[in-house]
């Protein structure tokens, strides 16, 4: 589904490479953990897959099509197929929890009826149905994070890219969320999760890609989290 070939990324104004010569294939329906130290380049890779920007060099293709070649319309359609969970949540402050999740549907032109049906389902899955009228500023950190997850899932996308989706929740909730991702993955959705949650990675036993200083240093089919701990 996703093909990353010899991709390097150096941010403008920076001397060092955030990613260096990455080559990686993510098959349709796969579940991939992206692990690595803080600053290893996980978010950068996810952002490149999301086509937030283009890599400094190398090629990324989605179902054989070069992301760099997308025109405005194609980029739009591509992003509409993806559910992205941002490391910094990126909720709209001016909208309530419900509106934030609904927004993902409204943006692509779903009908109000469809919205009224799908949004509560998604909120229930992350355990936030009773907070639906709150604004982001009125939520705890973990609750905000879960709104971001609900927003990514509500469109039932073909691909979910999640950046540290459980950094602000307790281990129990994190496990529930990971199991939710696993369940969605079972329905055929491809999932890539950048995470530091070593115990989750160890528990789920899925493919693990480890980055170190911008390079892939490990790619295990059913790996665990390998660290000093």
């Amino acid at each position: 589904m996703l093909n990353v070939k010899e991709v390097s990324q150096r941010y403008p104004g920076s001397k060092q490479y955030a990613l260096q010569d990455i080559t990686l294939t993510v098959g349709s329906g796969e579940f991939v953990f992206l692990v690595g130290q803080s600053g290893a380049g996980k978010s950068t890779l996810l952002r490149l897959l999301f086509r937030e920007y283009l890599p400094s060099s190398g090629l990324i293709t989605y179902r054989g099509r070069n992301l760099a070649r997308f025109n405005g319309r194609e980029l739009l359609n591509y992003r509409r197929k993806i559910g992205m969970v941002f490391q910094d949540f990126r909720l709209l402050k001016q909208k309530t929890v419900f509106e934030n999740v609904a927004f993902a549907l409204e943006v692509v032109g779903h009908s109000p009826q469809a919205v009224r049906k799908a949004v509560p389902e998604a909120l229930a899955q992350v355990g936030l149905l009773d907070r639906r009228h709150a604004f982001p500023a009125e939520l705890s950190g973990g609750e905000q994070q879960r709104v971001g997850i609900a927003r990514a899932m509500v469109r039932k996308p073909q691909l979910i890219l999640a950046d540290e989706p459980t950094g602000n929740v307790d281990p129990d909730t994190a496990l529930q969320l990971m199991e939710l991702f696993a369940a969605i993955n079972k329905t055929g959705t491809t999932i890539v999760i950048a995470t530091h949650a070593s115990d989750m990675v160890d528990r789920l036993r899925q493919r693990v890609v480890q980055l170190e200083r911008g390079r892939v240093v490990r790619d295990d089919k059913r790996g665990g989290y390998v660290g000093e701990l």
Binding site: F50, G72, L91, A104, G109
Partner: protein, 295 residues
């Protein structure tokens, strides 16, 4: 952009106006102030033009008939001139009386009788516009029975100069104020868009089309522009009405009658409304443009 999106945008524009009340109020007031200043200036300019035109059309050509002239023939000949608006005959006896009055002592002039009256018959001719005075005077000079033609050549030339000068000043200042107003409104809308930059970014990440992102801002900008223009028109109209009433009450000389006709004020107020709405609408489009084309 389907029907759901349209409906969504409409609702969103309203919600956003309600949630960003302060910002919306500030923008609306700014639009109102800048359009108000512009409109006030245009009203002033309309009035100045009106006064100048009144003065212009009051410029008189004094036509002194020869002592042996056929006054009636000359009268009808003068009246048929294209550029002439009005011809008044001042017979020589009347002229003598007027002269006495003008000099402050009518009695002194009783030494003159119709027989030794040194004054000729005089026509006072008024033309339609100052620009036509000199050609009319020229034409009259050639008529039979005309002794001398006299008009305030210097004053007419100066009036023409003033008119030309004032109208270019007005056009320039109006343009300046207009651009100022447009720039101001766009800057304000840009600030309000800047404050919502993050929101726009998130919309793009969620796959919103440019049109979808643009529409609520466009509606908001249009509404703010229109409201601002309405406010400006209302205040301006009330002020102008009060002012012109006070001018008329003072019974100022004819020259200072304010313009009140709908034909003259209509375009100004209409222009304010159109300008405000257009600036709001296009200003908002312009303001988000660069947030849309990043990637």
């Amino acid at each position: 952009m389907n029907f759901n999106s349209l409906r969504y945008s409409l609702r969103q524009g309203i919600v956003s106006l309600r949630r960003n009340t302060i910002l919306a109020l500030v923008t609306t007031t700014m639009v109102a102030i800048s359009l108000g200043v512009l409109g006030g200036f245009m009203l002033l300019s309309a009035n100045v033009r009106h006064v100048v035109r009144t003065i212009e059309s009051n410029v008189e050509i004094a036509v002194f008939a020869a002592m042996d002239a056929d006054v009636t023939a000359l009268y009808s000949q003068l009246s048929t001139l294209q550029s002439v608006r009005e011809v008044i005959l001042v017979p020589r006896d009347e002229g003598l009386r007027e002269l006495g009055l003008a000099l402050g002592d009518a009695e002194l002039f009783q030494v003159f009788t119709p027989q030794n009256n040194p004054l000729p018959d005089v026509f006072r001719v008024r033309v339609r516009a100052a620009a036509e005075v000199s050609s009319a005077a020229e034409a009259i000079r050639g008529m039979p029975g005309v002794d001398t033609v006299d008009y305030g050549e210097e004053i007419v030339a100066q009036l023409l100069a003033i008119t030309r000068w004032a109208s270019s000043l007005f056009v320039a200042t109006s343009a300046l104020l207009g651009f100022g107003a447009i720039f101001l409104v766009i800057a304000i809308i840009r600030l309000s868009v800047m404050a919502r930059q993050e929101e726009i970014g998130v919309m793009k990440y969620l796959g919103a089309s440019n049109g979808f992102i643009r529409l609520p801002f466009f509606l908001e900008g249009t509404v703010m522009g229109l409201l601002g223009a309405l406010l400006a028109s209302l205040v301006l109209w009330l002020l102008y009405d009060a002012l012109s009433a006070s001018v008329q009450n003072m019974a100022l000389p004819l020259l200072l009658t304010p313009v009140t006709g709908i034909a003259l004020l209509g375009p100004i107020f209409g222009g304010i409304l159109i300008l405000g709405t257009a600036v709001g609408a296009f200003g908002s489009l312009l303001a988000i443009r660069r947030y849309l084309h990043d990637h």
